[in-house]
Amino acid sequence: MAIFIDYDLCTGCKRCEKICPYNGIEVKDGKAVVNERCTSCGVCIDNCPENAISSDIKEKEVPDFRDRKGIWVFAEQADGVMAKVTKELLGLGQSLAKDLNQELSAVLLGNNVGHLIEELQKYGAQRVYLAQHELLSVYQTNPYTKVISEIILHNKPSIFIIGATPIGRDLAPRISMRLNLGLTADCTELSIDQEDGLLLQTRPAFGGNLMATIKTAYSRPQMATVRPGVMESKKIGTSSNCEVIHVDSSLTKEDVVTRVLEFVGEKKKVVSLNDAKVIVAGGRGVGSEEGLKPLFELAEALGAEVAGTRIVIEEGWLPVERQVGQTGQTVRPELYVACGISGAIQHRAGMLGSRYVIAINKDERAPIFEAADWGIVGDLHEVVPTLTNAILNRKGK
């Protein structure tokens, strides 16, 4: 497999150089040249405005999928409590279903979980596939893979989305290999291509430094895991109908090979930055644990949660569950106040979805200002208390 450049057509526009995920093509002396880093992934071919790039790979044929219909969501639950991401997936599913004019279904597995149907309906499910069995009471890879794969084979959905949680990321790739389905990981954006009706799946890669949009044209359902905390849930009126389809699974004890001995929950209450409407976040600029005090006071005045960059966590100034970013939590508050934060890409990856961002930093060139709606250049130890007082004064009036 190789990539070829037609030098008569190449104008040296560098578009291929910019979009290549591997840095495998460069423009030298005004013409594109493929180098040893090229993996023949083909991204450059479709993106060349001059049609100057081709390869010897034959385009795969797309089978006839006209009988595949319906948007499906995996209804993750634990101990009979719906995972928050399930509601988010249903919120996303509602808009995909509307764009395609298809139905939205939830796939619910467990034992004694019938009471969750009403909630699924409230968040947009028009149909629920319900499989109940004692072997499904806690999540285990094999039985869940088996039951879901059977439901998919019988009912032929067009799209299947799963939360990119520890459970979802254990389950989805297993199903993808069993049924030979393309699978896109950890998406932050899903939409429908208006031209061909395919699912456009956008996700960060290379540690948040690169976004990629992916299609899975060759298999159905088109499958993706979706990052928790990114999509919005939407309640609908309860007047609408919800059809429940009871699935008889063929599970036996032999299907369960691993044995969960115990689950040990963390003692600390997990702060859900996910749910916070306002977040006040501190970076190295706060200087010390003591230096976080003005941030807590501002948070108190705003009714906010306090969060930090990885530096703040590593320094031990805040506990790990308060870290925002690529390796911490993804948040989408109405307001994010970044104090003494430089704005590294790994941090921004976790707060991009904020509605409004304020940045307070003493360095006017700090990249965080590019990610902010409003910026104040100054020492946070002066600016933050001034802001807190101004807010309290306003409230007092």
């Binding site: 497999m1 190789a2 910019k18 979009i19 040893e36 880093r37 023949s40 992934c41 083909g42 991204v43 790979i57 795969k60 890879t141 094999n142 893979t145 520890p166 389950l171 989805a172 790739p173 297993r174 993808s176 290999m177 069993r178 393309g182 699978l183 990981a185 890669a205 290379f206 540690g207 948040g208 430094n209 690169l210 976004m211 990629a212 949009t213 992916i214 899975t216 044209a217 090979v257 691993t258 929950g265 963390e266 997990v270 705003l302 890409i345 921004r348 409004y356 304020i358 590019e370 990610a371 902010a372 709606d373 910026g375 104040i376 100054g378 600016v383 001034t386 802001l387 101004a390 807010i391």
Partner: protein, 263 residues
Amino acid sequence: MNIITLIKQVPDTTDIKTDPKTGNLIREGIESIINPDDRHAIEVAVSLKEKYKGKSIVVSMGPPQAIDAISEAIGMGIDEGILLADRNFGGADTWATSFTLGKAIEKINAYDLILCGRQAIDGDTAQIGPQVAEFLGLPQLTYVMDIEEVDDRRIIVKRGLGNGYERVESPLPALITVIGELNKPRYPRVDLLINACKENARITLWNAADLKVSVQEIGLSGSLTRVIKTFSPKVKREGEMLKGDKGEAVGQLIERLAGNYLI
């Protein structure tokens, strides 16, 4: 105990800088390293071998230069390496990668345990481990943060799940994916490293024909996903710098917050 460890050579993404003007990645001069999680997997393989004997093999699919990653693994104490290298493996998505790795493991045949990193820092999908396990019909234990017990028939691990951990027992053979908390990887030993580089004797190359796979099943041709475009993350906003001394700047900010019903 025979252990196969899957390792990937990746660009050191922690080194990646973005061009402040264009927002594009600057990848010049970025080093290739063994994927960080995979080092922890190698450490498991080597320490289990020290305890239980048997053979440890690393397998990597990648371009010819991925041989450096295999040499380094041998430097850390792994016995042998297999590099799956073929132009036709190029452009593989996770399905095609897992299929190819699965075929190679079937060819090796003798194994009790397969180790993977949880996630590669470039592709970032964390899909290879579970897919390879499914291909081989093995039980999988993902997010392993501690191995409590292992003998030739079963393994007990702790799986880190964010809100706590789960203790799970599985029969062997099984596939596990490991996370960084598991152990502290050793450094390669210089003498072993030099040997590995000098002779390359303990490194075997397999191509598509060796695996008896057809071109339609591997690489870009075998892939079920297609990256149709890539772009830099949208991070810019209409940043408005609020001027004046701190009192004035805060005053303007209060106006903006109130104007947008934020306070």
